[in-house]
């Protein structure tokens, strides 16, 4: 991992080289997180590039990205570590004779117990430990970027469980003791605001809210991601998307949808937002029938207004 980050500009430059165009605020968040060793909680509507941010940050820091996708019912055994029960059982089966031999010359139960005790914690050792993403991140040979995706989907208990990791970069495993991070990872948590996160979690994190981008920024994003799209069409497309976001939609189009649409228009060799083409491809942008119908109604008027300008 890169240990020195010169400035916020450095981050913006590197991100844009990777095709991740971001506002200064986003870059500042990464900068502060890396310098202050604090996790960042990234919130915002779906599809504004929260997960992409983690990928870009990993690429920028030249660090491996370890990702933990959260879901309801996620628990420690999926997130942190698990004992390989099967392997443990298999070993005891295979070693049964050996163990029998070892214990053969003991005459009392206590003596057998003692001898077994001498074996130590053989069955609860590293051999049988199955590390999951969090433990991976802590024990990684080089500092990593840890992405805890959609933390709002996990249960509240899990949130509480994360607190130790987030504040001290360590985690307690009953059988092994406390595992401290070899190198402090850069932690990014994302949330879609499905559920209010606890104050304790928020307190430990820097907070970054990514809104839908301004028109200017969105044009840059489309330009970087879909370079084949005609410049004039690009402006039109973004203007229309921005207009849609102001409407009374069930699900507002996000950046990812803008990009999908841009790619589709490139494939269709479109050179302006002509009505039929737009109407036919609207379902790439809007995901419910109601929204598509509404957008179809709005489009002619919008195009007329555009023509007048």
């Amino acid at each position: 991992m890169k240990t020195r980050i010169d400035s916020v500009e450095d981050i913006i430059r590197s991100f844009s080289e990777q095709g991740y165009i971001c506002s200064e605020r986003i870059a500042l968040a990464v900068y502060l997180a890396a310098q202050l060793h604090k996790p960042v909680l990234v919130e915002g509507p779906p599809g504004v590039g929260k997960t992409e941010l983690a990928k870009a940050a990993a690429a920028f820091l030249e660090a491996p990205l370890i990702r933990l996708q959260c879901y309801e019912g996620l628990d420690e055994s999926r997130a942190l570590y698990e004992w390989k029960y099967g392997k443990q059982l298999l070993y005891t089966q295979l070693l049964r004779d050996k163990l029998g031999g070892m214990l053969a010359d003991t005459d009392s139960l206590e003596a057998s117990m003692d001898r077994l005790g001498d074996l130590g914690e053989a069955f609860y050792s590293e051999t049988f430990l199955e590390p999951r993403p969090l433990l991976h991140a802590l024990r990684s040979e080089e500092p990593a970027v840890l992405l805890i995706d959609e933390i709002d989907k996990a249960d509240q208990e899990f949130e509480a469980f994360l607190l130790e990791l987030l504040s001290d970069f360590q985690i307690s495993i009953p059988e092994l003791g406390t595992v401290k991070a070899r190198h402090q990872p850069l932690v990014l948590l994302t949330s879609n605001d499905q559920r209010e996160l606890s104050d304790a979690l928020k307190r430990r994190c820097l907070h970054l809210y990514i809104p839908y981008p301004e028109a200017e920024l969105e044009v840059q994003i489309v330009a970087a991601r879909v370079p084949d799209l005609d410049a004039r069409l690009r402006e039109q497309l973004v203007a229309f998307i921005q207009y849609l976001r102001e409407q009374d939609m069930k699900k507002l189009p996000a950046i990812s949808e803008t990009l999908d649409w841009a790619r589709a228009l490139v494939l269709l060799h479109a050179d302006s937002l002509e009505q039929e083409q737009v109407a036919d491809t609207l379902n790439l942008v809007l995901k419910t029938e109601q929204d598509v119908t509404l957008a179809r109604e709005l489009l002619p008027a919008w195009l007329r207004k555009l023509g007048k300008r």
């Binding site: 605020r25 029960y85 099967g86 249960d155 209010e196 907070h207």
Partner: protein, 453 residues
């Protein structure tokens, strides 16, 4: 900068209602030190990221930031000498004025000839003698500003202006100049007082107001601006309380079949236990709100409360009626509660409530969905305009559902006064409560959630 300045800022934010822990404050200072104080935008962003953890708090932060870092000229002014005080005016006319040498004049001149830095000093000294921590409400600011100016010795200047006004033309011109100077000084003093208020008064006043807000009847709540935030906070507290309770009741039965099947892999050793899943929570809440003028305030808060809790109360269907009856769930799903309430009131408001007709209508629409998991909550004053009560339909409804609750915004003693017919409906309600303030409402929703799980 001045760590002191930043910690004052944190104080001010707390006064504005943000909850900032000491640890977060330290983070904010570290971040500020890291980005430097040159770029205002970046400085602002760094503080926002470390101190604001909830989007609702952002407006308060923006406002406080703008106010706090504007009072002294900008973020970059680390040096206190960079004062906004007006330039001295007193020495200008000493020689050519007939009134010079007057006792009053010398007192005034003493103040008006001071350089901005000296004036700042004087203001600080005067302020130090005063106790700003007693400030509680925003309207006290004027009083404190006046007191501060008097402490600075502004009284002499006032007298001098009065005196000059009586005199000749050049005297009056000079009075005008002094008046302008006084205005500028007063602005500085007012700025100082405002900051002190943010530090000390706002927080205390807020706690006081919150207490009041919880207890006053709904119809007076409009006068409070922060009531929305308070409702949201109360709802959030309740929600998190019950979320935990819900989780607790989830644990329980061992699923013997699945545990056995899974153990086959491990030669019959049950290496992993499987637990029986909690059955999906089926309870459903249906709310019927009277939104006629007398009750609409209570309805507004009840609905806001219920929809702010959709973490723990996922299946709420709501209906409203005044002169007409209609379902309003859609409005609340699509819009924020404030907007939705406005829309509903526009659509349905009116007077002339007819409870009998409403029950019949509700029965027609929802008969099929009423089952033993449903709780029906009715919010209304039971003022039926002497129309048929339709209590038998309510009885029908009650037989179908788990329970019927009645919330009445009026005091119990008035439940049967005039055209109100509560006693006809009461036998069919499992619970009837007065619901006239946020405190009442909180208690009701709390017991609702307790009953559901």
């Amino acid at each position: 900068m001045p760590v002191r300045r930043l910690s004052e800022f944190v104080q001010a934010l707390r006064g504005a209602g943000l909850r900032i822990s000491p640890d977060e404050a330290t983070q904010g200072m570290d971040a500020a030190a890291l980005v430097g104080y040159q770029g205002r935008q970046r400085f602002h962003d760094a503080l926002a990221m470390t101190l604001v953890k909830r989007e609702d708090d952002r407006p308060a932060f923006e406002e406080t930031f703008a106010r706090f870092f504007a009072v002294t000229s900008g973020v970059a002014s680390a040096a206190p000498q960079d004062s906004a005080m007006p330039a001295p005016v007193g020495d200008a006319g000493e020689g050519d004025e007939g009134l010079a040498g007057d006792g009053v004049e010398s007192d005034a001149a003493d103040l008006t000839t001071q350089t901005p830095a000296e004036l700042d000093q004087r203001l600080a000294e005067a302020a130090a003698q005063m106790d700003f921590t007693q400030m509680e409400v925003i309207t006290q600011q004027g009083l404190y500003t006046r007191r501060l100016l008097m402490n600075m010795g502004m009284g002499a200047v006032d007298d001098r202006i009065l005196q000059l006004d009586q005199g000749d033309a050049p005297g009056q011109a000079r009075a005008e100049m002094l008046r302008q100077w006084r205005r500028e000084v007063r602005e500085q003093a007012a700025g100082h007082v405002r900051r002190q208020f943010l530090l000390h008064g706002a927080g205390k006043g807020r706690a006081l107001r919150e207490q009041t807000m919880r207890a006053v009847p709904f119809r007076h709540l409009r006068e409070f601006q922060e009531v929305k935030t308070l409702v949201r906070r109360m709802a959030r507290r309740l929600a998190s309380l019950h979320q935990r309770r819900m989780k607790k009741s989830r644990r329980g039965m061992l699923d013997a079949r699945r545990t056995l099947v899974a153990s086959i892999r491990h030669d019959g050793v049950p290496a992993r236990l499987h637990w029986r899943q909690r059955p999906v929570q089926k309870s459903r809440v249906m709310v019927i709100c009277d939104v006629s003028s007398s009750v609409s305030d209570a309805a507004r808060f009840l609905l806001q409360f219920l929809y702010a809790m959709n973490d723990v109360l996922p299946r709420v269907r709501s209906f409203a009626f005044a002169s007409r009856f209609d379902e309003i769930s859609e409005d609340f799903q699509r819009y924020s509660p404030d907007v939705a309430v406005g829309r509903v009131l526009d659509r349905l408001s009116g007077s002339g409530t007819d409870y009998g007709e409403m029950f019949a209508d509700f029965w027609r629409r929802c008969e099929r969905e009423l089952d033993s998991h449903t709780t029906v909550i009715i919010l209304g004053d039971a003022r039926n305009n002497y129309l048929p009560e339709g209590a038998e339909v309510l009885q029908q409804i009650r037989r179908r559902v788990k329970q019927v609750w009645w919330l009445n915004p009026e005091a119990r003693s008035r439940w049967n006064s005039g055209d109100a017919v509560m006693d006809r409906y009461l036998p069919h309600c499992r619970l009837a409560r007065q619901c006239a303030s946020l405190d009442n409402l909180e208690r009701i929703v709390d017991s609702l959630l307790k009953g559901l799980n």
